[in-house]
């Protein structure tokens, strides 16, 4: 009996011990509000900086959601948010509403909208990687594409 309890504790500690080399913001992104700054991968276009800020403000104005991350790449713009716990029953409706409003207000942009924690986490991680000057635009665009593919994956 005692040995089996030790084995279970060992497994749980083993699982918990996997957390290494993670920076702080993304580490807590699933638990608390991180409110990351909007990211513009192609930094040469100054006007787009206002665009991503506008997009973030537009989404943050919804009372059903509480944390928004926006990443604008070469072609696609990723918008991820967290839905308040009691509003999670209406997640699909909220997603539809947000997508419709964004498409109407910014018709030139191609939006990918998600409320998935994993996509949010990856967006925050990408944001952190972008702080590093060695992280190239090409790599960032590739990563953004991978995140969007992950979002569209069903099973």
């Amino acid at each position: 009996m005692r040995i089996s309890v030790y084995i279970v504790i060992f497994i749980l500690l083993g699982l918990a011990g996997c957390s290494q080399n993670e920076s702080k913001e993304s580490e807590l992104a699933l638990i608390k509000k991180t409110d990351p700054n909007p990211v513009l991968i192609d930094e040469n276009t100054e006007g787009n900086l206002d665009l991503v800020t506008n997009i973030k403000e537009e989404i943050a104005s919804y009372k059903e959601i509480y944390d928004v991350a926006v990443v604008k790449g070469k072609k696609d713009t990723l918008v991820v948010y967290k839905v308040k716990h009691l509003q999670r029953f209406h997640m699909k409706k909220i997603e539809k509403k947000i997508k419709g409003r964004l498409d109407k207000k910014f018709p030139d942009e191609k939006f990918t909208v998600s409320s998935d924690y994993k996509i949010f986490l990856e967006a925050v991680k990408l944001n952190e990687k972008m702080q590093n000057p060695d992280y190239s635009e090409k790599k960032a665009n590739k990563r953004l594409k991978e995140i969007i593919e992950l979002k569209n994956e069903m099973a």
Partner: protein, 159 residues
């Protein structure tokens, strides 16, 4: 039905039944519910932690993390059944340990352990799904019915 049966009893039998009811221990329904609630809730919390583990450390989204989580929880309960811990948990929590998916793992392994003495093929192989077989059958059937309804609703444009 019960009243009809009671009418057929002799006075002595009825007197005995009254006496028996007087001394019978009452089922602690509320206490059992509370136990089932907190143990079932604890199992679900562990399941949620496993989901977060898959989301955090692997390439699973909230939508896709469900499958490996279920597999992991069933595997955990199979291990605990083998070690003899899940039996105590089942005795304490009742439905709280049987209703979550971990109860499925327990049903498979406990039947396998019980029939181990009858040999590996006819004993373990033949009886392993004695309890869990019903879960699989009705699970698959109800999934089929729900999928059928969903397909029809999508075809009609309701969903």
């Amino acid at each position: 039905m019960a009243d009809k049966k009671k009418k057929n009893l002799t006075p002595a039998q009825q007197k005995y039944q009254g006496l028996q009811q007087k001394h019978e221990l009452k089922r602690p329904v509320l206490k059992n519910c509370i136990k089932a609630f907190w143990v079932g809730g604890l199992i679900c919390t562990i399941g949620q932690a496993v989901t977060y583990f898959y989301i955090y450390f692997f390439n699973f989204t909230e939508q896709t993390a469900g499958n490996p989580t279920v597999a992991t929880m069933v595997f955990f309960s199979m291990l605990l059944t083998g070690f003899g811990i899940y039996d105590h948990l089942g005795q304490y929590a009742g439905a709280g340990s049987a209703v979550p998916v971990t109860g499925f793992g327990n049903a498979v392994i406990s039947a396998a352990i019980e029939h181990r003495t009858e040999g590996f093929v006819l004993g373990v192989g033949g009886n392993m799904f004695k309890l869990a077989g019903a879960v699989i059958l009705f699970g698959v059937f109800s999934a089929f019915v729900v999928a059928l309804i969903k397909t029809i609703l999508i075809q009609w444009g309701v969903l």
